[in-house]
Amino acid sequence: MEQVLSFFFEYKDAIFIIALSIFLGIEVISNVPAVLHTPLMSGANAISGVIIIGGIILVGHADLSRFSLDLVLGILALVFGTLNVVGGFAVTDRMLEMFKKKKK
């Protein structure tokens, strides 16, 4: 019990952020009409591409003076993240464009 409490205390900021973000996520998304489920999902998917920041940091501080597996994997993470972000937002926009154009 004491260990759990001390863990909570040590990481309380993180735990607060998690708890509040979950609540926020549920509030923001709930009651979304079924029409928008697919674009919402692909838009959310693009946001999860925020991992690209990790890729930028990895490659940004990588040692370029020598070739290493880490560098290759870092670049792969960067490309993966970019695909997720650019592809995700682009495909969402394309879907929503279709919804938009036929206002009567």
Binding site: I47, I57, I75, G81, L83, F89
Partner: protein, 479 residues
């Protein structure tokens, strides 16, 4: 930029790092705002752009202002490399996103989900040595990010393969146990890494084994899940990718990543729950139990199948007041969404009111059918959700079921032994007349007999959906 403003708890505080954190705050707020706008039809497109803007901002400020623990910024050479590879990824992503067919949208989303999960996996893998030198919390988030990211990566790739028809469903009874063993092994090894007192350099074998195990688990976890359950799996994997990104956010202490990731995780979870509800099944049931075969009571009187000719169908539709089209994935497979729109236009011109009744799990991902019909220029006001159309069904003159089966199966109401008993369906059986367009007498994904086909009010129109509707449109035109 590098002038130290103050020192808070031993950390030097520069203008640059303050601006960077500020940009992350703005990015996080833009993600929330974007998602909020995305949940309303009128504002959705703007919402997507706002979220994309937040992402662009966070990427640029990271590139310009991020410093490693030694206070060293990103070198020019590294910046060049990053820009080149972002350029490559962006070009591929953009072109693929522009070219993909709307029917293939679930595959596309699965692929992008896989790349996101893969990036999280790689980031956690590469950051492990640094994280391992830190406290138990940083090891924990790294290990969690690694596991969840790997499962999302390999799982999404298998989901892509299934949606694209490259990977079949493989379900053997022993797989349930195998998956359980794999899951326990993965979590156990993860816990061992977190709590092991060994030096990080001695744990590299474990971290690579963990990655391998999690990747295998991802494959095995999606492998037995059947086609009809795809909307649930895609939502769940989407949620995983978000959580994995959030874990990486903890590694870097980056609030934009944490908030963005958790938002996506929560959104994916909600959609997962919605999809499960729409199929009247629990998440555990989807993951563990295979769907289909057995269970169905076949003892009832079948009655007879009655066909309808094209000209009779044309007359029936032309003299109706209210027509509801109930599309299923068969419509998408036949690429019949455009001709369906032609049918509804020609009927509307004759003064017939036409609506589309969309079941929540019609298609291969949540809301997929709406996207397909929108692509065919059907105004979204004409697309009606199940709960809104059902009370009106008894007033409907003709319900046309196109390539749908389980979502209109009345066994959901009256056959407690049926696997779909209790699943919410579109009440096609309440309409005054029912026309069912089907390729043949095959069963739906769930493999269950559908007594709607034998209903006295039902008439069958066999053939490919696109051809049938095209002939029907020509028939009505020539009247």
């Amino acid at each position: 930029m590098d002038k130290i403003l103050t020192t808070i708890s031993g950390v030097d505080f520069t203008v640059g790092s303050a601006l960077l954190e500020l940009s992350y705050l703005i990015a996080a707020l833009l993600f929330v705002w974007g998602l909020k706008l995305l949940s309303h039809p009128e504002t959705a497109r703007r919402g997507n752009l706002w979220a994309a803007g937040g992402m662009g901002l966070a990427m640029i400020t990271t590139l310009l202002l991020h410093k490693d623990s030694a206070g060293q910024g990103i070198q020019m050479m590294n910046v060049m490399i990053i820009i080149v590879f972002i350029g490559v990824g962006a070009a591929i992503g953009w072109i693929a996103a522009r070219k993909v067919k709307m029917t293939a949208m679930p595959q596309m989303v699965s692929i992008y989900n896989a790349t996101g999960g893969g990036a999280s996996m790689l980031v956690a893998l590469l950051e492990y040595p640094a994280a391992a030198a830190g406290d138990i919390g940083s090891i924990l988030v790294t290990v969690l990010g690694l596991i969840i990211g790997s499962v999302a990566f390999s799982g999404s790739l298998i989901a892509f393969g299934k949606l694209d028809g490259r990977v079949g469903d493989i379900m053997k009874p022993f797989m349930t146990y195998l998956n359980l063993v794999l899951m326990i092994a993965t979590l156990g090894l993860g816990a061992y890494i977190v709590f092991s007192p060994n030096e990080p350099s001695e744990m590299l074998w474990a971290i690579y084994s963990l990655t391998g195990l999690a990747l295998i688990y991802g494959v095995m976890f999606v492998m037995p899940i059947g086609g009809a359950d795809m909307p649930v799996v895609i939502s769940l994997l989407n949620s995983f990718t978000g959580i994995a990104a959030a874990m990486a956010g903890f590694i870097y202490n980056n609030e934009a990543m944490i908030l963005g990731g958790i938002l996506v995780g929560a959104a994916g979870m909600i959609l997962t729950v919605l999809m499960c509800k729409a199929m009247n099944r629990s998440l555990i049931n989807v993951i563990i139990g295979a769907f289909g075969g057995g269970g169905a009571a076949i003892d009832r009187e079948h009655g007879t199948i009655k066909e309808i000719t094209l000209s009779d169908a044309a007359v029936l539709l032309s003299y109706s007041q209210k027509v509801v089209i109930i599309p299923g994935y068969g419509l998408a497979v036949a690429q019949a969404q455009h001709i369906a729109h032609e049918l509804d236009t020609i009927l509307e011109n004759k003064g017939v009111e036409v609506k589309y009744a969309i079941h929540p799990v019609a298609g291969r991902m949540p809301g997929h059918m709406n996207v397909l019909l929108a692509e065919a220029d059907v105004p979204y006001e004409q697309l009606v959700e199940m709960d809104d159309i059902n009370p009106d069904m008894p007033n409907v003159d003709v319900a046309i079921v196109v390539g749908a089966n389980d979502v209109v199966n009345p066994a959901a109401y009256d056959d407690p032994s049926s696997p779909i008993y209790g699943m919410p369906i579109i009440d096609a059986h309440l309409a005054k007349n029912i026309i069912i367009m089907k390729r043949g007498m095959g069963k739906g994904y769930a493999g269950i007999e559908n007594f709607l086909f034998f209903n006295d009010k039902t008439r069958m129109l066999f053939g490919d959906a696109k051809k049938s509707i095209t002939s029907l449109v020509n028939e009505i035109k020539s009247m």
